[in-house]
Amino acid sequence: MIVTIYATVITLQSLWGWYKMLAGSDRYIGLIRRYMVVHGLRLRFKAFWGDVVICLLLCVVFLIILYAHQIINDIDAKLNNHARPDPRRIV
């Protein structure tokens, strides 16, 4: 959880930094922005679209495993509650 939050914050910080830099009105920044857009449009997805699909599927699997963890933790908590004796009954 901590690592996820840390990674998310770092990624968002980086993206925000890039956005702020590329949103500038300077002539050369505009040039870089257009250059990046052109390169983005000229990307040949055929070279790596298979890996992208695998990554998406792995993300789905990862989320399912995370969900399964939560279910098992929930079952564990319920079993613990069920096994613990009620203090009022002992008295």
């Binding site: 040949r44 890996d51 792995l58 963890h69 933790n73 564990d76 079993l79």
Partner: protein
């Protein structure tokens, strides 16, 4: 080294003292001739230019694994072009309606022929078909009849090339119908030659107008200008090719870089999923069996 002495001696300076081997004849000193730089060899050309040259001569540079093979293939192709009949080559140019001057060299004509991609051979003479077949890398004999040459040319075309040609043909007919373009039936005409006979009279006029020296100077200037322009065009074409090459390499590098990053991400995700699966297994065992 002593002060004032030079580390290199000029070849034109006569040696102060000549040391000879015992028994050698004391020959008179010979004149030293300055070495001339040899013209640039084909094998000295950069790889991309060699490939471009090969493509211009109708060769597929990807078929040659080593640089030496490519150079050899270009050399063979040039020799083959030199041995071709000029009129036969002009037959192909007329049939393909390519822009060529009448006095173009055989190599220029061959380069234009190499750009002809059509597979409709109607109207082309036997000798023209022979030239076309040889420039497309087909083994053809002088005595081969037209149907056999056409068959060989059609056989040489790959299935995918044929399919894409059919597709282009279909699109072309649709576009032609939409625009209403009609095929020009006018006779083929060669491009006007830059050294046409009109220039001789212009030199005569120049000498008449500006005198002998002035006329010749003007003529020399024009010749020099045209030479410089031609060289500048060549340099520009080379720079354009280099820029295209840089752009292509940059695009390759970009695609490879992104593919590598995604591969790293995939490996990380696999590791996370495997660790997550073992963690799940451990939790399951802990909850259901250990307790």
């Amino acid at each position: 080294m002593a002060p004032g002495s030079s580390s290199t001696s000029s070849p034109a300076d006569p040696p102060a003292e000549q040391k000879l081997l015992p028994g050698a004849v004391d020959a008179p000193p010979r004149e030293v001739v300055a070495g001339a730089t040899p013209p640039r060899q084909m094998s000295d050309l950069p790889k991309d230019e060699l490939e471009h040259l090969a493509e211009e001569f109708g060769l597929d540079p990807t078929r040659f694994k080593t640089r030496q093979q490519l150079v050899s293939a270009i050399h063979d192709r040039r020799q083959m072009i030199a041995g071709m009949e000029r009129e036969a080559m002009l037959d192909v140019i007329r049939w393909g309606r390519r822009p060529v001057t009448r006095n173009a060299s055989k190599e220029q004509i061959a380069q234009e022929i190499a750009r002809i991609r059509t597979m409709k051979f109607a109207g082309l003479s036997q000798r023209g078909l022979l030239v076309l077949a040889r420039l497309r890398g087909i083994v053809a004999l002088e005595a081969d009849p037209i149907p056999l040459l056409v068959k060989k040319l059609k056989k040489q075309e790959s299935f995918f090339a044929k399919m894409s040609r059919k597709r282009r043909s279909m699109i072309a007919s649709v576009v032609a119908n939409l625009i209403g373009a009609e095929e020009s039936a006018a006779d083929y005409q060669f491009l006007p030659s830059p050294t046409a006979s009109g220039q001789a009279s212009s030199m005569k006029q120049e000498i008449e107008e500006a005198g002998l020296i002035g006329g010749i100077t003007n003529r020399l200037k024009k010749t020099a200008d045209s030479y410089v322009n031609q060289k500048l065009d060549e340099i520009e074409a080379r720079i354009d090719r280099k820029l295209d090459e840089i752009d292509r390499r940059l695009a390759d590098w970009r695609d490879k870089e992104i593919a590598n990053r995604i591969r790293i991400l995939k490996i990380t995700l696999w590791a996370s999923v495997i660790v997550g699966f073992f963690s799940l297994l451990y939790s399951y065992v802990k909850v259901y069996f250990v307790k």
